[in-house]
């Protein structure tokens, strides 16, 4: 099962990072967004092609007020 921002998702194995972003209502040109899969940064240029493994842990992060 692919875990998206700490929540179990029904994303199928092989789904791209772009597909995961769409699930959160984000397009691949969203400003101020970064993605990590299994603790590694996935650069924006790879979002359309990076395929998620069946047990991938995906973190989609953005700016929040802080510090």
């Amino acid at each position: 099962m692919i875990c998206l921002n700490g929540q179990a998702s029904d994303l199928p194995a092989g789904e791209t990072v772009a597909g995961a972003l769409a699930r959160l209502g984000l397009s691949t040109d969203a400003r101020g967004v970064a993605v990590a899969v299994d603790g590694e940064v996935v650069p924006r240029a790879a979002w359309e092609t990076f395929a998620l493994a069946a047990d991938a842990r995906v973190e989609v992060l953005t700016a929040m007020q802080g510090g």
Binding site: A34, R44, A63, Q65, G67
Partner: protein, 267 residues
């Protein structure tokens, strides 16, 4: 029309990693009740460098922090707030670089939940790794002069010692250490954490700090915009005072009016 005389800020910029800024006040964006108030406070503070954190996307979130900050024209300083290990901080910094297209990072590695004090060994390890990765690293550190020097030696662009724990508003608890720290390093010193009110910021600058960072002191004040203005004046006043050469402290009075020519009255 004659152009106005240059202010101290125009002629005395803060330079970090080759980037010159007129304002010596850094602002944290956390704790503001609304984005509108945050933007107004940023403008009132004159700050050119503000921190942002990185958190999971909330599809329900209203308004875009990034867009609001872009409108104010400030430079972003992403932080690694909430990280407890060098590993997490390094990964967060890399994600911030991806998200915000800046290699500047305010490095925080927290070692204790109650005081939010930095974890010195993890901090130093993360700083070294991030410098090697090409980041411009501004570490949130304790007021230990030796640790500050170690952070400088691994290549940090500035050091950000605390005056007191984050959000405590306790001011500068150890001005002596801060003065020693100032002498121990060549890189800019940005007093971070502990500021409660304007006089704390002025004191930091009088002690020789190059800049002050304020977050809760402004964002959680009853009137954040008014406090932002107060901090701006305090930082400018403290900088002027620190470069003006204060008089020495003396135990006894020194008359400011000469006795010469003093009238003599009949008894």
């Amino acid at each position: 029309m004659a152009s106005p005389a240059p202010t101290q800020a125009d002629t005395d910029p803060l330079t970090i990693a080759g980037c010159a800024m007129c304002s010596r006040l850094l602002l944290g964006t956390g704790g503001f009740p609304s984005l509108e108030l945050m933007a107004e406070a940023i403008r009132a503070s004159g700050s050119e460098l503000v921190t942002v954190a990185l958190r999971r996307v909330d599809p329900q979130a209203r308004g875009s922090l990034i867009d609001v900050l872009a409108d104010t024209g400030v430079r972003l300083l992403p932080n690694t707030a909430g990280c407890h290990t060098a590993r997490d901080a390094v990964l967060t910094a890399k994600l911030a670089r991806e998200a915000f297209a800046t290699d500047w990072i305010k490095l925080e590695v927290i070692g204790d939940e109650d005081t939010l004090l930095p974890d010195a060994p993890e901090l130093l390890r993360a700083a070294e790794e991030l410098v090697d990765e090409g980041f411009t690293v501004l570490p949130y550190t304790t007021d230990d002069p030796v640790l500050a020097r170690r952070l400088q030696d691994v290549g940090c662009a500035a050091v950000m010692p605390l005056g007191a724990p984050i959000g405590s508003g306790m001011g500068i608890r150890n001005p002596y250490n801060l003065a020693l720290l100032r002498q121990a390093v060549r890189v800019p010193v940005v007093l971070d954490a502990g500021i409660g009110t304007a006089s704390d910021a002025a004191l930091a600058m009088e002690l020789g700090c190059d800049a002050v960072m304020a977050a809760s002191a402004i964002s959680r004040a009853e009137d954040p915009v008014r406090m932002a203005r107060a901090m701006r004046h305090a930082v400018e006043a403290g900088r002027l005072a620190s470069t003006a050469g204060r008089i020495p402290r003396r135990l006894y009075a020194t008359a400011s009016t000469p006795d010469e020519g003093l009238a003599e009255f009949p008894t």
